[in-house]
Symmetry: C2
């Protein structure tokens, strides 16, 4: 697939444009707000590419930038595209209107993928003609640094489209997983927010400080989750593998999970208290440079993980 259209040029759409252009695709980038692409998106993309180049992650930032083309009409953006990635506002009516246009103007075989995180695809993908080529491809932001993509078909999406989409995402360097049928929040955000909800409960009830939650992850759980997920962690934690782990600790797991308060009713005071603690380390006006630091750390981590997998095995 050589021509990819990115519809919506906010943070998510810009980041997708980098993914596709970095992989060698020509990319059209369209936003309904006049001038948004030239005035905001392209300069931001240029800065991101500079950061990627500085970290040794891309060789020729100028060539990548040259493959991203600002386009001021949706029909011309998708004309000739073999893959379309929609990343407009998370609003049902807006998504439906955009998919109606995509269905009308994109070639009939073109895959139409949505970045939605909050709205089930079945609620708006059917606004497009040939809705069977539509599906969700939900990225983790920014996708040029974090490779996981959750591919989720609607009930009317054909399996061949799911396969083509997954294969394409793999080819541009992502790590797609298949969410077999719709579930609110897909997989990643459900796992993330379930853990965060219990963390809010523990802090809200005074068992520990906000910083302790972060320490538990970075000095504890993520020491393994960075290269083996939680099921493999369990498999390697018992001589009998996963089944042996459950024999040993299944009752404790069940008890603790049932005792979790994922419906904990956190309120504005708790949010303010946690914000206050986090802002001591990173005041709000320092968030932008700290984001750039985070991204450098992610790049260094991925370089390490690839190197460690080569050197020590995967």
């Amino acid at each position: 697939m050589n021509l990819v259209a990115c519809i919506g040029a906010g943070n998510v759409g810009r980041a997708w444009a980098i993914v596709f252009a970095r992989a060698g695709c020509e990319v059209t980038l369209y936003d309904s707000a006049a001038g948004a692409v030239e005035q905001h998106a392209l300069p931001a993309i240029q800065q991101s590419l500079r950061d990627l180049a500085a970290a040794g992650w891309v060789d020729d930032a100028a060539a990548i930038l040259a493959r991203i083309h600002a386009t001021d009409s949706l029909p011309s953006a998708v004309c000739g595209a073999t893959y379309v990635q929609e990343s407009v506002k998370e609003d049902l009516a807006t998504k439906r209107a955009v998919f109606a246009q995509l269905g009308q103007h994109a070639p009939p075989e073109t895959i139409l993928a949505s970045s939605t995180s909050a709205i089930p695809g079945s609620q708006f993908l059917d606004a497009a003609a040939q809705a069977e080529r539509c599906l969700v491809a939900h990225p983790v932001n920014p996708p040029y640094l974090i490779p996981l993509v959750e591919v989720c078909p609607a009930p009317f999406t054909t399996p061949a489209v799911v396969d083509r989409c997954t294969e394409f995402l793999r080819r541009v360097g992502q790590q797609p997983i298949l969410v077999r049928r719709e579930v609110p929040g897909f997989i990643l955000n459900r796992l993330q927010f379930t853990l965060v909800a219990e963390a809010l409960h523990l802090v809200g009830e005074g068992y520990c400080e906000p910083d302790d939650i972060d320490k538990v992850l970075k000095h504890g759980l993520a020491m393994r989750w960075a290269f083996i997920g939680p099921f493999e962690v369990a498999h390697l934690n018992a001589t009998g593998g996963f089944a042996g782990f459950i024999d040993n600790l299944g009752d404790m797991m069940r008890t603790l999970a049932r005792d979790a308060k994922t419906d904990y009713n956190w309120g504005p005071e708790l949010v303010a208290a946690i914000h206050h603690e986090l802002a001591k380390k990173t005041p709000v006006e320092q968030i932008a440079p700290r984001q750039a630091w985070r991204d450098r750390r992610i790049m260094a981590l991925r370089t390490h993980l690839a190197d460690a997998a080569d050197r020590l095995g995967e």
Copy 2:
């Protein structure tokens, strides 16, 4: 603190012995099973030290091993110790009996810490004389690789003991956090098992495959959690910091967390199916070498994280 006693020489006790001896302490290692220390624990410790030396993590494995002393009676193990780490079987009666002995034979100022993960300290620490110097110091296994330790006082533990214990653990290279009051599973296992329970629900209901859960962590969530925890992730994901993140996504978080099925009733079929998938990659007879691989990967990851923090900031 120069003399540390490790009571119980299973996996946890052996690993603690390495932590303390690596930091320069003299260590007595005692187990109630006759010959267990000489025949099983010391050879295993020697192997672990060899692996640590091979990865460049310790300089002089022989000197560390020479600081670990097999001891065949509990009174002589704790005589003169300034810190005792108990890691015997997770059984209430056994723990109570051991703490009664520790209270009787350890010097009165000695900190008596338990590695328990499953039993609240208040149920057995009071079996010791001067129970106010007793508390829980729950490690992540193996603590010589994973630094987090959950320090949890019983209601009768004095604050000065908590401070001394925390300071000592920091001095031997660990990352202690304080669990202010008892809660089943402390913090790490509550967070871990809450996430795993929702993962079991998602796999059990056919939304995704077991391997997809592991991919969501290693290619998604842990890309950030390895160096910033979930609260800092949220703080850096909105221009308004944590409070801004909650303004944007709080409703979605609440909805997804309430929709989580942490009380999902997984049964033996699901466990067997997940075990079967994991065993395709790592058959049960390959778990021991795979554990050694995991430990090498953890060492490499920690070396990377320390280097990245130096080079790019923490």
